[in-house]
Symmetry: C2
Subunit: 333 residues, 2 copies
Protein backbone atom coordinates (compact mmCIF):
# COMPACT_ATOMS: atom_id res chain seq x y z
CA UNK A 1 0.00 0.00 0.00
CA UNK A 2 1.26 3.40 -0.98
CA UNK A 3 2.26 5.66 1.89
CA UNK A 4 2.23 9.43 1.86
CA UNK A 5 4.30 12.33 3.09
CA UNK A 6 2.00 14.58 5.11
CA UNK A 7 2.67 18.00 6.62
CA UNK A 8 0.44 19.86 9.07
CA UNK A 9 0.66 23.64 8.85
CA UNK A 10 -0.21 25.01 12.29
CA UNK A 11 0.36 21.72 14.09
CA UNK A 12 0.47 23.12 17.62
CA UNK A 13 -3.01 24.66 17.71
CA UNK A 14 -6.21 22.93 18.83
CA UNK A 15 -7.08 21.77 15.29
CA UNK A 16 -3.48 20.83 14.38
CA UNK A 17 -3.09 18.64 17.45
CA UNK A 18 -6.43 16.99 16.74
CA UNK A 19 -5.29 16.29 13.16
CA UNK A 20 -2.37 14.28 14.59
CA UNK A 21 -4.80 12.26 16.73
CA UNK A 22 -7.22 11.67 13.84
CA UNK A 23 -4.43 10.62 11.42
CA UNK A 24 -3.33 8.07 14.01
CA UNK A 25 -6.83 6.82 14.82
CA UNK A 26 -7.80 6.41 11.18
CA UNK A 27 -4.44 4.78 10.36
CA UNK A 28 -3.79 7.20 7.55
CA UNK A 29 -1.01 5.63 5.41
CA UNK A 30 1.86 7.91 6.41
CA UNK A 31 5.45 7.68 5.20
CA UNK A 32 6.71 10.92 6.77
CA UNK A 33 4.82 13.28 9.05
CA UNK A 34 6.04 16.88 9.23
CA UNK A 35 4.37 19.09 11.89
CA UNK A 36 4.96 22.75 11.04
CA UNK A 37 4.40 25.84 13.18
CA UNK A 38 5.96 29.21 13.94
CA UNK A 39 9.65 29.48 14.88
CA UNK A 40 8.60 29.86 18.51
CA UNK A 41 7.24 26.27 18.57
CA UNK A 42 10.08 24.67 16.59
CA UNK A 43 11.58 21.69 18.41
CA UNK A 44 8.46 21.10 20.50
CA UNK A 45 7.57 17.37 20.60
CA UNK A 46 3.98 16.38 19.81
CA UNK A 47 2.56 12.94 20.67
CA UNK A 48 1.99 10.68 17.63
CA UNK A 49 1.52 6.91 17.32
CA UNK A 50 2.96 6.14 20.73
CA UNK A 51 6.03 8.29 20.19
CA UNK A 52 6.52 11.95 19.41
CA UNK A 53 7.24 14.06 16.36
CA UNK A 54 9.27 17.26 16.48
CA UNK A 55 7.72 20.51 15.28
CA UNK A 56 9.63 22.29 12.52
CA UNK A 57 9.45 25.96 11.65
CA UNK A 58 7.14 26.54 8.69
CA UNK A 59 9.06 28.20 5.86
CA UNK A 60 8.53 28.49 2.12
CA UNK A 61 10.71 25.37 1.70
CA UNK A 62 8.89 23.16 4.23
CA UNK A 63 6.64 21.56 1.64
CA UNK A 64 9.14 19.97 -0.73
CA UNK A 65 8.55 16.25 -1.06
CA UNK A 66 5.16 16.39 0.64
CA UNK A 67 2.11 14.74 -0.92
CA UNK A 68 -0.51 16.36 1.28
CA UNK A 69 -0.40 19.49 3.44
CA UNK A 70 -3.16 19.78 6.03
CA UNK A 71 -3.80 23.44 6.85
CA UNK A 72 -4.74 24.23 10.47
CA UNK A 73 -3.44 27.80 10.45
CA UNK A 74 -5.14 31.18 10.14
CA UNK A 75 -6.27 32.45 6.75
CA UNK A 76 -3.40 34.92 6.35
CA UNK A 77 -0.73 32.25 6.82
CA UNK A 78 -2.64 29.89 4.53
CA UNK A 79 -2.67 32.59 1.85
CA UNK A 80 1.03 33.26 2.31
CA UNK A 81 2.08 29.62 2.09
CA UNK A 82 -0.36 28.33 -0.54
CA UNK A 83 1.74 29.22 -3.63
CA UNK A 84 4.75 27.34 -2.25
CA UNK A 85 2.63 24.35 -1.26
CA UNK A 86 1.06 24.13 -4.72
CA UNK A 87 4.45 24.64 -6.40
CA UNK A 88 5.89 21.74 -4.35
CA UNK A 89 3.33 19.44 -5.95
CA UNK A 90 1.49 18.72 -2.67
CA UNK A 91 -2.27 19.04 -2.35
CA UNK A 92 -3.21 21.66 0.25
CA UNK A 93 -6.29 20.63 2.29
CA UNK A 94 -6.91 23.90 4.09
CA UNK A 95 -9.15 24.44 7.10
CA UNK A 96 -8.99 28.25 6.90
CA UNK A 97 -11.51 30.47 5.15
CA UNK A 98 -8.85 31.77 2.70
CA UNK A 99 -9.80 29.85 -0.45
CA UNK A 100 -13.26 28.44 0.27
CA UNK A 101 -15.18 30.60 -2.19
CA UNK A 102 -12.52 30.51 -4.94
CA UNK A 103 -13.96 28.91 -8.07
CA UNK A 104 -11.19 26.38 -8.72
CA UNK A 105 -11.09 25.27 -5.07
CA UNK A 106 -13.45 22.42 -4.12
CA UNK A 107 -15.21 22.91 -0.79
CA UNK A 108 -15.92 19.46 0.56
CA UNK A 109 -17.99 17.67 3.13
CA UNK A 110 -17.10 14.07 2.22
CA UNK A 111 -20.58 12.76 3.12
CA UNK A 112 -22.16 15.32 0.77
CA UNK A 113 -20.06 16.23 -2.28
CA UNK A 114 -17.02 13.89 -2.41
CA UNK A 115 -17.05 13.98 -6.24
CA UNK A 116 -16.11 17.70 -6.21
CA UNK A 117 -12.66 16.78 -4.93
CA UNK A 118 -11.59 15.83 -8.45
CA UNK A 119 -11.80 19.40 -9.69
CA UNK A 120 -8.98 20.74 -7.55
CA UNK A 121 -5.95 22.65 -8.81
CA UNK A 122 -3.79 21.99 -5.78
CA UNK A 123 -6.04 23.45 -3.06
CA UNK A 124 -9.12 21.93 -1.41
CA UNK A 125 -10.95 23.80 1.33
CA UNK A 126 -12.51 22.47 4.49
CA UNK A 127 -15.76 24.35 5.19
CA UNK A 128 -16.63 26.42 8.25
CA UNK A 129 -17.30 24.29 11.33
CA UNK A 130 -20.97 25.22 11.87
CA UNK A 131 -21.59 24.81 8.17
CA UNK A 132 -20.09 21.28 8.14
CA UNK A 133 -22.13 20.21 11.17
CA UNK A 134 -25.42 21.73 9.96
CA UNK A 135 -25.10 20.47 6.39
CA UNK A 136 -24.06 16.97 7.48
CA UNK A 137 -27.24 16.90 9.59
CA UNK A 138 -29.57 18.05 6.81
CA UNK A 139 -27.92 16.68 3.65
CA UNK A 140 -30.26 13.69 3.71
CA UNK A 141 -33.23 16.09 3.53
CA UNK A 142 -31.64 17.85 0.54
CA UNK A 143 -31.34 14.50 -1.24
CA UNK A 144 -35.08 13.91 -0.69
CA UNK A 145 -36.07 17.40 -1.85
CA UNK A 146 -33.87 20.45 -2.52
CA UNK A 147 -33.44 22.77 0.45
CA UNK A 148 -34.76 26.27 -0.28
CA UNK A 149 -34.10 28.12 2.98
CA UNK A 150 -32.50 27.59 6.37
CA UNK A 151 -33.04 29.70 9.48
CA UNK A 152 -30.27 28.70 11.88
CA UNK A 153 -29.24 29.81 15.35
CA UNK A 154 -25.98 28.39 16.62
CA UNK A 155 -24.70 27.54 20.08
CA UNK A 156 -20.96 27.50 19.36
CA UNK A 157 -18.30 26.09 21.66
CA UNK A 158 -15.25 28.08 22.75
CA UNK A 159 -12.96 25.65 20.90
CA UNK A 160 -13.89 27.61 17.78
CA UNK A 161 -11.42 30.20 19.07
CA UNK A 162 -8.75 27.51 19.38
CA UNK A 163 -6.72 26.50 22.41
CA UNK A 164 -6.93 30.09 23.71
CA UNK A 165 -10.73 29.93 23.73
CA UNK A 166 -10.72 26.66 25.66
CA UNK A 167 -8.21 28.02 28.19
CA UNK A 168 -10.21 31.23 28.66
CA UNK A 169 -13.48 29.48 29.58
CA UNK A 170 -11.61 27.14 31.92
CA UNK A 171 -9.82 30.07 33.58
CA UNK A 172 -13.03 32.08 33.98
CA UNK A 173 -14.85 29.15 35.58
CA UNK A 174 -11.99 28.44 37.98
CA UNK A 175 -11.70 32.15 38.71
CA UNK A 176 -15.42 32.36 39.49
CA UNK A 177 -15.06 29.57 42.05
CA UNK A 178 -12.22 31.55 43.63
CA UNK A 179 -14.12 34.85 43.55
CA UNK A 180 -11.86 36.44 40.91
CA UNK A 181 -13.23 38.73 38.18
CA UNK A 182 -13.16 37.23 34.66
CA UNK A 183 -10.39 38.18 32.22
CA UNK A 184 -11.50 38.32 28.56
CA UNK A 185 -8.90 38.14 25.79
CA UNK A 186 -9.83 35.39 23.34
CA UNK A 187 -13.40 36.72 23.32
CA UNK A 188 -14.51 40.36 23.50
CA UNK A 189 -16.52 39.74 26.70
CA UNK A 190 -16.50 37.14 29.49
CA UNK A 191 -17.98 33.88 28.18
CA UNK A 192 -18.55 32.03 31.47
CA UNK A 193 -22.23 32.51 32.47
CA UNK A 194 -22.74 34.51 29.27
CA UNK A 195 -23.58 34.07 25.59
CA UNK A 196 -22.08 36.38 22.94
CA UNK A 197 -24.12 36.98 19.76
CA UNK A 198 -21.15 37.75 17.57
CA UNK A 199 -18.68 35.41 15.88
CA UNK A 200 -16.57 36.91 13.11
CA UNK A 201 -16.71 40.55 12.11
CA UNK A 202 -19.37 42.80 10.60
CA UNK A 203 -19.86 41.75 6.99
CA UNK A 204 -21.69 44.95 6.06
CA UNK A 205 -25.29 43.71 5.83
CA UNK A 206 -25.94 43.31 9.55
CA UNK A 207 -24.67 39.72 9.49
CA UNK A 208 -21.23 38.65 10.67
CA UNK A 209 -18.72 37.01 8.34
CA UNK A 210 -19.29 33.75 10.26
CA UNK A 211 -23.07 33.99 9.75
CA UNK A 212 -22.75 34.51 5.98
CA UNK A 213 -20.62 31.37 5.63
CA UNK A 214 -23.58 29.04 6.04
CA UNK A 215 -25.31 30.60 3.02
CA UNK A 216 -22.21 31.15 0.87
CA UNK A 217 -20.53 27.83 1.61
CA UNK A 218 -23.87 25.99 1.73
CA UNK A 219 -24.65 27.06 -1.85
CA UNK A 220 -21.33 25.66 -3.06
CA UNK A 221 -21.39 22.39 -1.09
CA UNK A 222 -25.02 21.54 -1.86
CA UNK A 223 -24.77 22.79 -5.48
CA UNK A 224 -27.79 24.94 -4.71
CA UNK A 225 -27.01 28.50 -5.89
CA UNK A 226 -30.42 29.81 -4.82
CA UNK A 227 -30.11 28.63 -1.21
CA UNK A 228 -31.04 31.38 1.25
CA UNK A 229 -29.85 31.21 4.87
CA UNK A 230 -30.55 33.49 7.81
CA UNK A 231 -27.99 32.57 10.45
CA UNK A 232 -27.34 33.89 13.95
CA UNK A 233 -24.01 32.74 15.37
CA UNK A 234 -23.71 32.75 19.13
CA UNK A 235 -20.80 31.74 21.36
CA UNK A 236 -21.86 29.77 24.44
CA UNK A 237 -19.87 28.54 27.47
CA UNK A 238 -19.40 25.02 26.11
CA UNK A 239 -15.99 23.44 25.48
CA UNK A 240 -16.05 21.53 22.18
CA UNK A 241 -19.39 20.67 20.59
CA UNK A 242 -21.31 23.13 18.47
CA UNK A 243 -25.12 22.90 18.52
CA UNK A 244 -27.42 24.32 15.86
CA UNK A 245 -31.17 24.94 15.94
CA UNK A 246 -32.27 24.87 12.30
CA UNK A 247 -35.56 25.35 10.49
CA UNK A 248 -35.29 24.02 6.95
CA UNK A 249 -37.76 24.53 4.08
CA UNK A 250 -37.58 22.04 1.21
CA UNK A 251 -39.18 22.15 -2.24
CA UNK A 252 -41.75 19.50 -1.30
CA UNK A 253 -42.93 18.70 2.20
CA UNK A 254 -40.88 15.94 3.81
CA UNK A 255 -42.96 14.20 6.49
CA UNK A 256 -41.26 13.96 9.91
CA UNK A 257 -41.13 10.16 9.75
CA UNK A 258 -39.43 10.19 6.36
CA UNK A 259 -36.94 12.82 7.58
CA UNK A 260 -36.10 10.73 10.64
CA UNK A 261 -35.50 7.62 8.55
CA UNK A 262 -33.35 9.46 6.03
CA UNK A 263 -31.21 11.11 8.71
CA UNK A 264 -30.91 7.87 10.70
CA UNK A 265 -29.38 6.14 7.67
CA UNK A 266 -27.29 9.10 6.43
CA UNK A 267 -23.51 8.83 6.44
CA UNK A 268 -21.91 10.70 9.32
CA UNK A 269 -25.19 11.13 11.24
CA UNK A 270 -26.71 9.55 14.28
CA UNK A 271 -30.38 10.08 15.11
CA UNK A 272 -31.07 10.76 18.83
CA UNK A 273 -34.69 11.80 18.81
CA UNK A 274 -36.97 10.72 21.64
CA UNK A 275 -38.25 13.84 23.34
CA UNK A 276 -40.58 11.99 25.72
CA UNK A 277 -37.60 9.94 26.95
CA UNK A 278 -35.45 13.11 27.17
CA UNK A 279 -33.15 11.88 24.42
CA UNK A 280 -31.68 14.50 22.08
CA UNK A 281 -28.17 15.61 21.15
CA UNK A 282 -26.22 17.68 23.69
CA UNK A 283 -22.65 19.03 23.68
CA UNK A 284 -21.53 16.99 26.70
CA UNK A 285 -22.58 13.72 25.02
CA UNK A 286 -21.31 14.50 21.51
CA UNK A 287 -17.82 15.88 22.14
CA UNK A 288 -14.67 14.05 21.02
CA UNK A 289 -16.58 12.12 18.35
CA UNK A 290 -16.78 12.30 14.56
CA UNK A 291 -20.52 11.85 14.14
CA UNK A 292 -23.11 14.64 13.84
CA UNK A 293 -26.00 13.93 16.21
CA UNK A 294 -29.50 14.99 15.12
CA UNK A 295 -32.75 15.18 17.03
CA UNK A 296 -35.84 17.26 17.87
CA UNK A 297 -37.10 16.69 14.31
CA UNK A 298 -40.62 18.14 13.96
CA UNK A 299 -42.85 20.07 11.59
CA UNK A 300 -42.05 23.74 11.19
CA UNK A 301 -45.22 25.53 12.34
CA UNK A 302 -44.51 28.62 10.19
CA UNK A 303 -44.15 26.97 6.76
CA UNK A 304 -46.01 24.00 5.30
CA UNK A 305 -42.81 22.64 3.69
CA UNK A 306 -40.60 23.18 6.72
CA UNK A 307 -38.96 20.99 9.33
CA UNK A 308 -37.26 22.10 12.50
CA UNK A 309 -34.39 20.17 14.08
CA UNK A 310 -31.43 20.32 16.44
CA UNK A 311 -27.93 18.98 15.82
CA UNK A 312 -24.61 18.76 17.66
CA UNK A 313 -21.12 17.89 16.53
CA UNK A 314 -17.59 18.24 17.82
CA UNK A 315 -16.20 21.44 16.36
CA UNK A 316 -12.53 20.41 16.47
CA UNK A 317 -13.21 16.96 15.00
CA UNK A 318 -16.03 16.81 12.42
CA UNK A 319 -16.06 20.61 12.26
CA UNK A 320 -12.35 20.77 11.39
CA UNK A 321 -9.71 18.03 11.79
CA UNK A 322 -11.73 14.93 10.93
CA UNK A 323 -13.42 16.52 7.93
CA UNK A 324 -10.01 17.62 6.58
CA UNK A 325 -8.56 14.12 6.96
CA UNK A 326 -11.67 12.60 5.36
CA UNK A 327 -10.92 14.90 2.41
CA UNK A 328 -7.31 13.68 2.38
CA UNK A 329 -8.63 10.10 2.32
CA UNK A 330 -10.66 10.93 -0.79
CA UNK A 331 -7.36 11.87 -2.46
CA UNK A 332 -6.01 8.37 -1.84
CA UNK A 333 -8.76 6.76 -3.91
CA UNK B 1 -53.35 57.81 48.29
CA UNK B 2 -55.07 54.48 48.74
CA UNK B 3 -52.92 51.65 50.02
CA UNK B 4 -53.42 47.98 49.33
CA UNK B 5 -53.18 44.67 51.11
CA UNK B 6 -50.91 42.43 49.06
CA UNK B 7 -50.11 38.75 49.50
CA UNK B 8 -47.41 36.79 47.69
CA UNK B 9 -48.17 33.11 47.20
CA UNK B 10 -44.82 31.30 47.01
CA UNK B 11 -42.84 34.14 48.58
CA UNK B 12 -39.69 32.15 49.35
CA UNK B 13 -38.86 31.08 45.78
CA UNK B 14 -36.68 32.99 43.33
CA UNK B 15 -39.64 34.85 41.79
CA UNK B 16 -41.39 35.47 45.14
CA UNK B 17 -38.27 37.03 46.66
CA UNK B 18 -37.81 39.18 43.58
CA UNK B 19 -41.44 40.34 43.89
CA UNK B 20 -40.63 41.67 47.36
CA UNK B 21 -37.66 43.60 45.93
CA UNK B 22 -39.66 44.97 43.01
CA UNK B 23 -42.59 46.04 45.21
CA UNK B 24 -40.11 47.95 47.36
CA UNK B 25 -38.19 49.50 44.44
CA UNK B 26 -41.33 50.62 42.66
CA UNK B 27 -42.84 51.92 45.93
CA UNK B 28 -46.00 49.96 45.42
CA UNK B 29 -48.62 51.49 47.79
CA UNK B 30 -48.76 48.73 50.39
CA UNK B 31 -50.90 48.69 53.54
CA UNK B 32 -50.15 45.11 54.58
CA UNK B 33 -47.77 42.65 52.96
CA UNK B 34 -48.41 38.98 53.55
CA UNK B 35 -45.71 36.55 52.26
CA UNK B 36 -47.15 33.05 51.99
CA UNK B 37 -45.38 29.75 51.50
CA UNK B 38 -45.53 26.12 52.58
CA UNK B 39 -45.70 25.22 56.30
CA UNK B 40 -41.98 24.37 56.18
CA UNK B 41 -41.09 28.03 55.50
CA UNK B 42 -43.57 29.57 57.98
CA UNK B 43 -41.86 31.97 60.38
CA UNK B 44 -38.91 32.62 58.04
CA UNK B 45 -38.10 36.34 57.85
CA UNK B 46 -37.70 37.90 54.39
CA UNK B 47 -36.06 41.30 53.85
CA UNK B 48 -38.48 44.10 52.92
CA UNK B 49 -38.14 47.90 53.02
CA UNK B 50 -35.21 47.90 55.40
CA UNK B 51 -36.84 45.49 57.83
CA UNK B 52 -38.21 41.99 57.45
CA UNK B 53 -41.59 40.35 57.01
CA UNK B 54 -42.47 36.94 58.42
CA UNK B 55 -43.60 34.17 56.09
CA UNK B 56 -46.99 32.65 56.90
CA UNK B 57 -48.24 29.23 55.88
CA UNK B 58 -50.49 29.46 52.82
CA UNK B 59 -53.92 28.08 53.66
CA UNK B 60 -57.38 28.50 52.15
CA UNK B 61 -57.98 31.32 54.63
CA UNK B 62 -54.78 33.29 53.93
CA UNK B 63 -56.41 35.61 51.39
CA UNK B 64 -59.17 37.24 53.47
CA UNK B 65 -58.84 41.00 53.46
CA UNK B 66 -56.30 40.99 50.64
CA UNK B 67 -56.71 43.28 47.59
CA UNK B 68 -54.09 41.66 45.38
CA UNK B 69 -52.48 38.23 45.52
CA UNK B 70 -49.28 37.86 43.49
CA UNK B 71 -48.81 34.23 42.48
CA UNK B 72 -45.22 32.96 42.39
CA UNK B 73 -46.04 29.32 43.01
CA UNK B 74 -46.30 26.27 40.74
CA UNK B 75 -49.39 25.76 38.56
CA UNK B 76 -50.88 23.05 40.77
CA UNK B 77 -50.82 25.24 43.91
CA UNK B 78 -52.17 28.18 41.90
CA UNK B 79 -55.05 25.98 40.71
CA UNK B 80 -55.74 24.77 44.24
CA UNK B 81 -55.78 28.23 45.82
CA UNK B 82 -57.44 30.27 43.04
CA UNK B 83 -61.07 29.65 44.11
CA UNK B 84 -60.33 30.88 47.65
CA UNK B 85 -58.41 33.88 46.36
CA UNK B 86 -61.24 34.91 44.05
CA UNK B 87 -63.85 34.27 46.75
CA UNK B 88 -61.91 36.54 49.12
CA UNK B 89 -62.42 39.42 46.69
CA UNK B 90 -58.72 39.79 45.89
CA UNK B 91 -57.41 39.90 42.34
CA UNK B 92 -55.02 37.02 41.66
CA UNK B 93 -52.09 38.07 39.43
CA UNK B 94 -50.63 34.65 38.74
CA UNK B 95 -47.22 33.90 37.29
CA UNK B 96 -47.94 30.20 36.73
CA UNK B 97 -49.21 28.65 33.51
CA UNK B 98 -52.44 27.44 35.20
CA UNK B 99 -54.90 29.98 33.82
CA UNK B 100 -53.10 31.68 30.93
CA UNK B 101 -55.18 30.25 28.12
CA UNK B 102 -58.51 30.45 29.98
CA UNK B 103 -60.91 32.73 28.08
CA UNK B 104 -61.95 34.99 30.98
CA UNK B 105 -58.36 35.41 32.19
CA UNK B 106 -56.45 38.34 30.68
CA UNK B 107 -52.83 37.52 29.75
CA UNK B 108 -50.92 40.76 30.00
CA UNK B 109 -47.64 42.33 29.00
CA UNK B 110 -48.28 45.89 30.21
CA UNK B 111 -46.29 47.45 27.35
CA UNK B 112 -48.43 45.57 24.81
CA UNK B 113 -52.03 44.93 25.89
CA UNK B 114 -52.71 46.83 29.16
CA UNK B 115 -56.35 47.41 28.13
CA UNK B 116 -57.07 43.66 28.41
CA UNK B 117 -56.69 43.88 32.18
CA UNK B 118 -60.22 45.27 32.48
CA UNK B 119 -61.81 42.04 31.34
CA UNK B 120 -60.72 39.98 34.33
CA UNK B 121 -63.01 37.96 36.58
CA UNK B 122 -60.63 37.81 39.51
CA UNK B 123 -57.60 36.20 37.82
CA UNK B 124 -55.00 37.80 35.56
CA UNK B 125 -52.12 35.75 34.20
CA UNK B 126 -48.50 36.69 33.74
CA UNK B 127 -47.17 35.15 30.50
CA UNK B 128 -44.28 32.74 30.10
CA UNK B 129 -40.88 34.39 30.60
CA UNK B 130 -39.46 33.86 27.08
CA UNK B 131 -42.78 34.96 25.62
CA UNK B 132 -42.75 38.21 27.64
CA UNK B 133 -39.16 39.01 26.65
CA UNK B 134 -39.59 38.16 22.96
CA UNK B 135 -42.93 39.95 22.58
CA UNK B 136 -41.72 43.05 24.43
CA UNK B 137 -38.82 43.17 21.96
CA UNK B 138 -40.97 42.82 18.83
CA UNK B 139 -44.26 44.50 19.83
CA UNK B 140 -43.16 47.71 18.12
CA UNK B 141 -42.82 45.77 14.85
CA UNK B 142 -46.33 44.36 15.29
CA UNK B 143 -47.68 47.89 15.70
CA UNK B 144 -46.03 48.86 12.39
CA UNK B 145 -47.33 45.78 10.56
CA UNK B 146 -48.97 42.64 11.94
CA UNK B 147 -46.56 39.79 12.71
CA UNK B 148 -47.36 36.67 10.69
CA UNK B 149 -44.66 34.23 11.82
CA UNK B 150 -41.80 33.96 14.30
CA UNK B 151 -38.96 31.44 14.21
CA UNK B 152 -37.32 31.65 17.63
CA UNK B 153 -34.45 29.83 19.31
CA UNK B 154 -33.96 30.58 22.97
CA UNK B 155 -30.91 30.65 25.22
CA UNK B 156 -32.64 30.34 28.61
CA UNK B 157 -31.02 30.98 31.97
CA UNK B 158 -31.08 28.45 34.81
CA UNK B 159 -33.17 30.85 36.94
CA UNK B 160 -36.14 29.60 34.92
CA UNK B 161 -35.95 26.52 37.15
CA UNK B 162 -36.03 28.75 40.24
CA UNK B 163 -33.59 28.95 43.11
CA UNK B 164 -32.75 25.25 42.64
CA UNK B 165 -31.66 25.91 39.06
CA UNK B 166 -29.40 28.76 40.11
CA UNK B 167 -27.87 26.67 42.92
CA UNK B 168 -27.28 23.73 40.58
CA UNK B 169 -25.27 25.68 38.00
CA UNK B 170 -23.24 27.34 40.78
CA UNK B 171 -22.54 23.96 42.41
CA UNK B 172 -21.53 22.33 39.11
CA UNK B 173 -19.12 25.17 38.29
CA UNK B 174 -17.55 25.10 41.75
CA UNK B 175 -17.42 21.30 41.58
CA UNK B 176 -15.66 21.43 38.21
CA UNK B 177 -12.96 23.68 39.68
CA UNK B 178 -12.50 21.11 42.46
CA UNK B 179 -12.49 18.15 40.07
CA UNK B 180 -15.82 16.74 41.28
CA UNK B 181 -18.36 15.16 38.89
CA UNK B 182 -21.52 17.21 38.30
CA UNK B 183 -24.74 16.33 40.14
CA UNK B 184 -27.93 16.97 38.12
CA UNK B 185 -31.28 17.27 39.92
CA UNK B 186 -32.97 20.52 38.86
CA UNK B 187 -32.17 19.66 35.23
CA UNK B 188 -32.17 16.24 33.60
CA UNK B 189 -28.48 16.55 32.62
CA UNK B 190 -25.50 18.61 33.79
CA UNK B 191 -25.91 22.19 32.61
CA UNK B 192 -22.37 23.54 33.21
CA UNK B 193 -20.46 23.35 29.88
CA UNK B 194 -23.62 22.02 28.24
CA UNK B 195 -26.83 23.19 26.59
CA UNK B 196 -30.07 21.19 26.93
CA UNK B 197 -32.61 21.41 24.07
CA UNK B 198 -35.63 20.65 26.21
CA UNK B 199 -37.60 22.91 28.54
CA UNK B 200 -41.02 21.66 29.59
CA UNK B 201 -42.42 18.29 28.58
CA UNK B 202 -43.41 16.68 25.28
CA UNK B 203 -46.57 18.40 24.07
CA UNK B 204 -47.36 15.65 21.55
CA UNK B 205 -46.40 17.37 18.27
CA UNK B 206 -42.65 17.23 18.69
CA UNK B 207 -42.58 20.57 20.49
CA UNK B 208 -42.27 20.97 24.23
CA UNK B 209 -44.98 22.64 26.31
CA UNK B 210 -42.56 25.59 26.81
CA UNK B 211 -42.05 25.91 23.04
CA UNK B 212 -45.79 26.00 22.30
CA UNK B 213 -46.31 28.87 24.77
CA UNK B 214 -44.79 31.45 22.45
CA UNK B 215 -47.39 30.67 19.79
CA UNK B 216 -50.37 30.09 22.08
CA UNK B 217 -49.72 33.00 24.44
CA UNK B 218 -48.43 35.22 21.63
CA UNK B 219 -51.75 34.88 19.78
CA UNK B 220 -53.66 36.01 22.86
CA UNK B 221 -51.33 38.87 23.87
CA UNK B 222 -50.95 40.30 20.36
CA UNK B 223 -54.64 39.67 19.48
CA UNK B 224 -53.33 37.82 16.43
CA UNK B 225 -55.14 34.46 16.27
CA UNK B 226 -53.34 33.43 13.07
CA UNK B 227 -49.83 33.92 14.47
CA UNK B 228 -47.58 30.94 13.73
CA UNK B 229 -44.45 30.34 15.82
CA UNK B 230 -41.73 27.70 15.52
CA UNK B 231 -39.82 27.80 18.76
CA UNK B 232 -36.84 25.84 20.06
CA UNK B 233 -36.27 26.30 23.80
CA UNK B 234 -32.77 25.60 25.04
CA UNK B 235 -31.33 25.82 28.54
CA UNK B 236 -27.85 27.36 28.66
CA UNK B 237 -25.36 27.80 31.54
CA UNK B 238 -26.33 31.41 32.24
CA UNK B 239 -27.69 32.59 35.59
CA UNK B 240 -30.55 35.05 35.04
CA UNK B 241 -31.03 36.60 31.59
CA UNK B 242 -32.83 34.80 28.79
CA UNK B 243 -31.69 35.51 25.23
CA UNK B 244 -33.75 34.89 22.11
CA UNK B 245 -32.72 34.74 18.45
CA UNK B 246 -35.88 35.57 16.49
CA UNK B 247 -36.75 35.84 12.81
CA UNK B 248 -40.02 37.71 12.39
CA UNK B 249 -42.13 38.03 9.23
CA UNK B 250 -44.60 40.92 9.09
CA UNK B 251 -47.46 41.59 6.69
CA UNK B 252 -45.52 44.37 4.95
CA UNK B 253 -41.73 44.69 4.83
CA UNK B 254 -40.41 46.86 7.66
CA UNK B 255 -37.06 48.37 6.65
CA UNK B 256 -34.25 47.81 9.17
CA UNK B 257 -33.95 51.54 9.93
CA UNK B 258 -37.65 51.86 10.67
CA UNK B 259 -37.52 48.77 12.90
CA UNK B 260 -34.57 50.17 14.83
CA UNK B 261 -36.32 53.50 15.41
CA UNK B 262 -39.55 51.84 16.51
CA UNK B 263 -37.81 49.48 18.93
CA UNK B 264 -35.58 52.27 20.28
CA UNK B 265 -38.66 54.28 21.26
CA UNK B 266 -40.79 51.33 22.43
CA UNK B 267 -41.82 51.11 26.09
CA UNK B 268 -39.76 48.61 28.03
CA UNK B 269 -37.08 48.27 25.31
CA UNK B 270 -33.54 49.48 24.90
CA UNK B 271 -31.81 49.29 21.53
CA UNK B 272 -28.17 48.08 21.71
CA UNK B 273 -27.32 47.54 18.08
CA UNK B 274 -23.85 48.42 16.81
CA UNK B 275 -22.27 45.24 15.50
CA UNK B 276 -19.12 46.96 14.19
CA UNK B 277 -18.52 48.37 17.70
CA UNK B 278 -19.30 44.93 19.24
CA UNK B 279 -22.41 46.31 20.96
CA UNK B 280 -25.38 43.95 21.31
CA UNK B 281 -27.39 42.58 24.22
CA UNK B 282 -25.78 39.88 26.38
CA UNK B 283 -26.97 38.09 29.55
CA UNK B 284 -24.14 39.43 31.73
CA UNK B 285 -25.03 43.04 30.87
CA UNK B 286 -28.81 42.71 31.04
CA UNK B 287 -29.36 40.82 34.29
CA UNK B 288 -31.05 42.39 37.32
CA UNK B 289 -32.83 44.97 35.16
CA UNK B 290 -36.40 45.45 33.96
CA UNK B 291 -35.71 46.45 30.37
CA UNK B 292 -35.63 44.13 27.37
CA UNK B 293 -32.48 44.79 25.33
CA UNK B 294 -32.68 44.39 21.54
CA UNK B 295 -29.97 44.31 18.90
CA UNK B 296 -28.59 42.52 15.81
CA UNK B 297 -31.56 43.85 13.79
CA UNK B 298 -31.11 42.95 10.11
CA UNK B 299 -32.98 41.76 7.05
CA UNK B 300 -34.05 38.13 7.09
CA UNK B 301 -32.33 36.59 4.06
CA UNK B 302 -34.96 33.86 3.66
CA UNK B 303 -38.12 36.00 3.41
CA UNK B 304 -38.61 39.40 1.79
CA UNK B 305 -40.87 40.59 4.65
CA UNK B 306 -38.67 39.28 7.43
CA UNK B 307 -36.34 40.75 10.02
CA UNK B 308 -33.93 38.91 12.26
CA UNK B 309 -32.98 40.14 15.73
CA UNK B 310 -31.57 39.20 19.12
CA UNK B 311 -32.95 40.17 22.53
CA UNK B 312 -32.10 39.65 26.19
CA UNK B 313 -34.05 40.22 29.37
CA UNK B 314 -33.83 39.22 33.00
CA UNK B 315 -36.03 36.16 33.42
CA UNK B 316 -36.80 36.68 37.11
CA UNK B 317 -37.58 40.40 36.70
CA UNK B 318 -39.24 41.34 33.38
CA UNK B 319 -39.87 37.66 32.66
CA UNK B 320 -41.75 37.17 35.93
CA UNK B 321 -41.75 39.45 39.02
CA UNK B 322 -41.60 42.88 37.40
CA UNK B 323 -44.19 42.05 34.76
CA UNK B 324 -46.57 40.77 37.47
CA UNK B 325 -46.17 43.92 39.54
CA UNK B 326 -46.63 46.08 36.43
CA UNK B 327 -49.94 44.24 36.01
CA UNK B 328 -50.82 44.97 39.63
CA UNK B 329 -50.03 48.64 38.98
CA UNK B 330 -52.54 48.63 36.12
CA UNK B 331 -55.17 47.58 38.67
CA UNK B 332 -54.50 50.72 40.73
CA UNK B 333 -55.49 53.01 37.86
Amino acid sequence: MKKYNVAILGATGAVGREMLKVLEERQFPIQTLRPLASARSAGKELPFCGGTVAVEEATRHSFEGMDIVLGAAQADLAREMAPDIVRSGAVFVDNSSAFRMQEDVPLIVPEINPEDVKMHSGIISNPNCSTIITLTAIAALHRLSPIQTIVASTYQAVSGAGAAGLAELEAQVRGYAEGKPPVAQAFPYPIAFNVIPQIGSDSGNGYTTEEMKMQNEGRKILHQPGLRVTCTCVRVPVLRSHSISATVVTERKIPVGEAREAIASAAGCRLVDELAAKRYPMPLETSDQDIVFVGRIRDDLTHENGLSLWCCGDQIRKGAATNAIQIAELLLK
